[in-house]
């Protein structure tokens, strides 16, 4: 007769049970704060719900209407441009900064802390600072350029469609570089110095060491950082809302700001939700490309 094992001991040793128990809180949190809102958003996108009035199911009507909506299409263009331009520059400058910070510098810890400042400052504060920097009448940039004799009249940063796009992209880059730089710096510090030594012994120059040692070893970190950076940039809201509110002529409206404007301010929850949900395929595609492409075996 097998020895009697108390129930508690059996439960305690049951891997499946323990797995479920320990995962349940996290699962519950995900369910309540992620799955439910997402599910609700998807549902609202198929309804004509307005704030204060429950909606009815209208199928694909919101999406069909958006496809013919020039402002929505403009916001899609703006979002793609904003994300791609900002991400490319953030990565180029972020990698360059990370490589600089990876060298032995005097006051290294202090400099690394300073680099993080733009990321630490609350977004709204930095947005207000940029709003002043770009002000059509009080811009410090225009003032400096005028004093230097480089321009005759103040630059219309936020009153010209293309200038405004460039201006908000620059603001996003300024805020985003520290995140990229610090993450890549962490990645750089995991690369064994012996690899560089071996490469040097084999006669590799600095560029070759960068291409054949640094880049491949940095790729796993790079792919994660790129994925997050794309997500953060694509869904950016605060910078735009504080600096331009989507203007001029909707030239800086991103999908996130348009969704808020129509869904919350305008009360058209159904249409706002549809715009927000329309971001999902773009996000899946961009993250899939950045993640899968950069996670290729050959890098690892």
């Amino acid at each position: 007769m097998p020895p009697h094992v108390p129930l508690w001991d059996r439960v305690r040793d049951n891997t499946l049970f323990l797995t479920i128990v320990f995962m349940a809180p996290a699962g519950l949190l995900l369910l309540v704060f992620l799955t439910y809102p997402l599910g609700l958003g998807i549902w609202l996108g198929f309804t004509d719900t307005r704030i204060g009035r429950p909606g009815v199911f209208i199928g694909w009507e919101n999406y069909a209407s958006l496809l013919q909506d020039s402002i929505f299409l403009k916001s899609v263009f703006n979002t793609v441009l904003y994300t791609s331009a900002a991400t490319v520059v953030k990565f180029a400058l972020g990698l360059w900064l990370a490589l600089l910070l990876n060298r032995r510098l005097p006051f290294q810890a202090f400099i690394r802390a300073i680099v993080l400042l733009p990321y630490i400052v609350p977004t709204v504060l930095s947005a207000i600072a940029f709003w002043w920097i770009y002000d059509s009448q009080f811009s410090i940039l225009s003032w400096m350029l005028t004093k230097l004799g480089l321009i005759d009249q103040y630059i219309d940063f936020l009153g010209d469609e293309n200038n405004a796009r460039a201006a908000v992209i620059a603001a996003n880059i300024w805020r985003g570089i520290p995140f990229v730089a610090i993450c890549l710096l962490a990645g750089l510090q995991t690369i064994s110095p012996s690899l560089y030594e071996a490469a040097s012994l084999d006669g590799a120059n600095a560029w070759q060491r960068f291409c054949y040692v640094t880049v491949p070893n940095l790729m796993p970190v790079l792919s994660i950082v790129l994925t997050f950076s794309i997500l953060f940039t694509f869904t950016d809201f605060q910078l735009i809302y504080a600096i331009t509110r989507g203007g001029p002529n909707n030239a800086t409206h991103l999908m996130a700001t348009l969704a808020f404007q129509r869904g919350i301010n305008g009360g058209m929850l159904g249409e706002g939700a549809a715009i927000a949900i329309a971001m999902v395929p773009f996000l899946i595609l961009s993250t899939a490309v950045s993640y899968l492409a950069l996670q290729r075996k050959k890098w690892q």
């Binding site: 307005r50 704030i51 204060g52 009035r53 209407s65 013919q68 909506d69 020039s70 402002i71 002000d135 059509s136 009448q137 009080f138 009249q153 103040y154 219309d156 940063f157 936020l158 009153g159 010209d160 469609e161 405004a164 331009t244 509110r245 989507g246 203007g247 001029p248 002529n249 909707n250 404007q261 129509r262 919350i264 301010n265 305008g266 009360g267 058209m268």
Partner: protein
């Protein structure tokens, strides 16, 4: 006094009748019983949370708090005032409406109550009482605050906008008086531009200061919708207004296409523009500034009502403010008593004066408030509620008009045509398409 017994007085104890009594309500003779304060029995242990917009002028909030304190002293009801940047009040109210929890009273702008009318406490009794007592409400109040025959909001007034101008610059531009018609106004703007002292009007996504675009459209007879909410924006009248905007735009200071609400105030006080549309806050800021240069500028700042267009009547749009009470409140009577207290003459007039008339009254009797006589420069603001139309003109207010306003459809249409990014016809056609979507309730 047979309708109002001692028992009633005892029942209300510290109630709104007592609050109303401060205005003489309890002692009224029988023939004016229509003005009797509603019998509101304040709930035991009532506490109120009020969400209102942040003040534009300091005097407003100082006196508001003083009036609130007075209410607490009279009734024992604690009132907490939360303040938010004004464009953020509506989104918060929307969330409160949807989740059924939040502030008891919201002091908001425009037509928010029309978005969740069935979630609001009926304020007909206090609105009727106030209307009867103070000479009636201006017509636009009924548009904003009534649903059918029921008052779902209580008008507070409007942060009225006028043409704010530098008198010396306007005179130098060849105008002894501020023009009263559209042709004169355009000539003035051209002349100011030529003199190097241009005008500036917000053409970005500015809810408040962008409201001049509605004035422009209506002045020429254009409108978003007709009386039956049919979209009629793409009309010859609107095109005329947009052509006017196109002619006006090159005469404005550069950058207005990206202007939000604060831009014109800053540019005006810096002396970069000499004409804009704004509340009285620009004058107030210059007047109260510790900077002597601004004090000097204040002497040169004058106000005028918006010129009247070919339609022949004022077509202004102002930031209409009203209070409303959510049904989820545990203390509806306390909330009504508070609103009543704040609108009574003893509180309202000192509050309006403290804010040097930043908010124009919705009740006709308050046009005799001393604030309108104390400084002749305040006078144009007195009539802003009387002169204004509602933003869903000439249709009804509700989900669609709110969505149209907050989606900046008219602002964008005027900005596109003015800047030349679209022709007036294209801009009107795009606005029409968007409105057809928005008005498809």
């Amino acid at each position: 006094m047979s309708d109002f017994t001692r028992r009633d007085v005892l029942k209300t104890t510290v109630g709104a009748a007592a609050v109303g009594a401060a205005g003489g309500g309890l002692l009224l003779p029988k023939h004016v019983m229509a003005q009797q304060a509603p019998n509101l029995k304040i709930e035991k242990g009532a506490k109120l949370r009020v969400l209102r917009w942040s003040q534009f002028v300091q005097g407003d909030i100082d006196q508001w708090m003083a009036n609130t304190k007075k209410f607490t002293e009279k009734t024992g009801v604690e009132v907490r005032i939360d303040r938010e940047n004004w464009p953020d009040v509506s989104p918060k109210a929307s969330v409160a409406a949807n989740v059924g929890s939040g502030p008891d009273i919201i002091v908001d702008f425009f037509d928010s109550p029309q978005l969740f009318a069935d979630k609001l406490v009926d304020l007909t009794d206090i609105a009727t009482y106030l209307g009867n007592k103070y000479g009636g409400w201006f017509p636009v109040c009924e548009k904003y605050s009534m649903r059918g025959k029921k008052w779902i909001g209580l008008p507070l007034g409007a942060a009225g906008a006028c043409m704010v101008y530098r008198k010396s610059h306007v005179e130098a531009a060849g105008f002894k008086e501020f023009p009263k018609d559209m042709d004169g106004f355009l000539k003035l703007c051209k002349s100011l531009h030529d003199k190097g002292t241009p005008a500036g009007f917000a053409l970005g996504n500015a809810v408040g200061d962008g409201s001049w675009t509605y004035w422009l459209m209506w002045a020429f007879g254009g409108k978003m919708v007709d009386d039956k909410n049919n979209v009629v924006i793409n009309s010859p009248e609107t095109i005329k207004a947009l052509e006017y905007a196109k002619e006006l735009y090159p005469n404005l200071i550069p950058g207005t296409l990206g202007w939000l609400d604060p831009n014109n105030n800053k540019a005006f006080l810096d002396g970069q523009i000499s004409l804009t549309n704004n509340g009285i806050s620009v004058y107030y800021a210059a007047l109260k500034s510790p900077d002597p240069k601004l004090n000097e500028m204040a002497k040169d700042i004058y106000h005028a009502n918006f010129p009247v267009g070919p339609v022949g009547h004022p077509t202004e749009l102002h930031l209409f403010s009203q209070s409303y009470v959510f049904k989820y409140t545990k203390y509806p009577n306390a909330a009504k008593a508070y609103l009543l207290h704040m609108m009574e003459k003893e509180q309202y007039e000192p509050w309006q004066s403290a804010a040097i008339g930043y908010v124009t009254h919705p009740l006709k009797a308050y046009e005799n408030n001393a604030v309108w006589k104390s400084d002749p420069k305040n006078l144009p603001y007195r009539d802003t509620v009387k002169n204004m139309l509602w933003h869903g003109y000439s249709g009804t207010l509700g989900y669609s008009s709110a969505a149209a306003l907050n989606d900046y459809i008219v602002n964008n249409m005027v900005a596109q045509a003015a800047s030349g990014s679209k022709t007036p016809k294209e801009a009107a056609a795009e606005a029409e398409k968007r409105l057809q979507r928005v008005y498809r309730v």
